[in-house]
């Protein structure tokens, strides 16, 4: 499966990118992932009669933040996998490489 070419990028049907631009993306994503993960340990305050509901909410917020943090890692992994595929390729990349399990989110 071959397709159109991009200037300065080898012919690739499903993986056409500029590695100089895409290459740095995983590092940025992982940096934000680490920042976010470091802020997900939230204290559950004693709010009186509503303490149980507050604890549920705090758990929910913390869980969502962890989930988002995981998504950032998945995205970084996916880009890394594509970069590896690109580096190992001879310029033509099969469609199957466009699919990465982690991208289902």
């Amino acid at each position: 499966m071959t397709g159109t070419s991009v200037p300065s990028v080898p012919v690739m049907s499903d993986l056409e990118f500029d590695p100089e631009v895409i290459g740095p993306l995983p590092a940025g994503l992982r940096e934000r992932q680490a920042d976010l993960a470091a802020a997900t340990t939230l204290p559950s305050p004693d709010t009186g009669a509503s303490t149980a509901a507050t604890a549920d909410a705090v758990r929910g917020l913390s869980g969502q933040a962890l989930g988002l943090s995981g998504r950032l890692g998945d995205l970084a992994d996916a880009v890394d996998a594509s970069l590896t595929t690109y580096a190992d390729s001879d310029g033509v990349v099969e469609r199957s490489f466009a699919w990465t399990p982690g991208w289902f989110g």
């Binding site: 049907s13 993306l25 709010t47 991208w103 289902f104 989110g105």
Partner: protein
Amino acid sequence: MTSLVVDGSSPGCRTAARELRRLEARTAAVAEHLASVRTTSGGSWRGAAGESFRAQVRSALVLADDQVARLRLVGPALRVLASRLDGVQAMMDEARRTARAGGVPVAGDALPHAADVRPEQGEALARATAIVARARDREAQAQADWLAVLDDAFPPLEVSRLDHPVPAMVRDNVRTWPDLTGADRALDFELPVALPLLPPALRRPFVGYTDVLRPAITATTGQIEDDLERDDLSLLERVGRGSLVGATTAVGAVGAIALCARISATRRSAPVCGKVGAWVGTKAGRKALEVADAH
């Protein structure tokens, strides 16, 4: 005895509010970064992989924006609750001073019964008790307002039918799932566009819907990925094995959520129950495959 104790810790609420503010700032930074990544990749990554990547970035961005909105609701409200608890505490202190000024003996954190004070202390006790009553009203209102904020932040899913369509990206990816046998053809099936009607008991806990579908898909693809190392399986066997683990994961998640609902867990607990159930379901599915492999 009339208690002068105020439930809740305002310093604890302020500490938690500060942490929520910190999380909000970092989540907002994530959203900003994702928007930048989407723009950057749009100009430098074409083809199906680029589109898939940007679809996932968009999805994560929605999640981040949603999270920021929620944190902006909950964090400041928690700070307001702390101030209101302080206000209630100040009223309780005033009630104590009023009682003592009238000669009422105040032992510990309670006003005595009217029957336990001398007649000349009765008026001061009545004034103090009235202050406590007003304080309790304010405390109740503060709690109700806080719970209303939590309800706004985590709205219940009022649906009679879980008709949220299967995300188009999932359908498209499955439709064009790479043929793992190497043959040049795509799988000829599609996912249903809607999930089936749910029994009423499951509607409310299904606020954790994404905690069912997502782990099921992840388990399915994870199993297929694991099976890539084996060369003794046909394509249908690979899809079947993945689907089995996905199905047990979904059943585990739904079962756990339903169980949590039965034991009166709140809807906010549903995602946690779903995660635990999904984990158990995945383990069960994989165990079943191990048993089948052994035979």
